[in-house]
Symmetry: C2
Subunit: 184 residues, 2 copies
DNA sequence: CCTGAGGTATACCGATCGGTATACATTCCA
DNA sequence: TGGAATGTATACCGATCGGTATACCTCAGG
């Protein structure tokens, strides 16, 4: 990735997330990156491709943050995953989940859909692993789906409520579920 | 509301929901409604106003459907609310929740935000009433928030998964929560 | 009777959309 | 040393955006 390419992705990352994908034109992205539109098209070919790169990078950054937090966390690490959503520096409390937002904007068949689905499935799978670790006796798949739904509901409402209250609430509910599933 | 106004709202309802608000121009709405752009602007003044009317009507239609289903339902009616999401004729399995989608597209300060927040709060409040009815002993507020998060997570993922599986899963989880909260 | 509300039809506005073309620098490496 | 590769700067393309203007039709009610 060339330096200009990186600056374009930086600009696109902020703008697509904060303003919405359809509301941001390629000219605004290139201007914000301090780059010509030609450079943007030389690197990414089309806006649709740029959107796919934006989503991929968003997932990679989030995943790196999650790994870092999990490595430093004590049990139960399921709760550390919930906390990672609160500490993720790219998450704007007024905009919620970038992937849910993108799903609301992208037309059917857009290549970004695959990135969105893979991201959500990766989170769900990681959750199942952590739950198997925190509540060895329980039905990890069932509990993982339960926790995943709580998490997604809370994250989706971050943008609507404009606050973290529901994420904290989900955190507490998950803590209780874990206690019930694996009483020490 | 004049006949042309109603047809405009019908067209806008389908288009804004299925294609997204920013992806649909006023000309497409008026053409689909079989109406002139002038008529659209005479009735609604601006696209932003039309969007607010769209969201309000969406809420009213959903609420009427919910009331109808609840009136015909046996206990536990909390589950009837979950079922209403599956039977709502305006819900497209590939597009999820119209309000969550709109929240992803509307700029901050848009008048539609108020409609979105009021809609979600109305659902949460109705849920609390039903839970108080289904599980009289339990902490209705706490359980309502739990169920609400499960519901929102499932609805938000309807559009992403392209299916009802998570809504059914949430339904089953809620059924179990109710059983635990009010053992007969 | 005639006025005003609700319409249609059509043309237009400036701005912005995604995307392309042309011409000219810089830098690095074979 | 001499091309690719990576850039900048600028102008342009047709299409569409939200919104307005003008002219005319129809029909119900005081």
């Amino acid at each position: 990735m060339t330096p200009a390419g990186r600056r374009i992705l930086d600009a696109a990352g902020g703008l697509f997330y904060r303003e919405g994908i359809n509301a941001v034109g390629v000219a605004l992205v290139s201007d914000t990156a301090g780059v010509t539109k030609k450079t943007l098209y030389d690197r990414f070919g089309s806006k649709d491709e740029l959107v796919v790169h934006y989503l991929r990078r968003r997932h990679e950054n989030w995943w790196a943050h999650l790994d870092e937090r999990l490595a430093a966390a004590a049990a139960p690490r399921t709760l550390a995953l919930m906390d990672a959503y609160l500490s993720h520096p790219e998450l704007d409390v007024a905009r919620g989940c970038a992937f849910i937002n993108a799903a609301a904007e992208l037309p059917p068949g857009h290549a970004g859909w695959r990135v969105i689905r893979e991201h959500k499935e990766a989170v769900r799978a990681r959750l199942a692993e952590l739950i198997a670790e925190d509540a060895p006796g329980a039905d990890a798949g069932d509990l993982a789906e339960h926790v995943f739904l709580l998490l997604e509901g809370a994250i989706a409402h971050r943008g609507i409520d404009g606050g973290d209250a529901r994420v904290h609430k989900a955190h507490d509910l998950v803590a209780r579920l874990l206690r019930e599933a694996a009483p020490r």
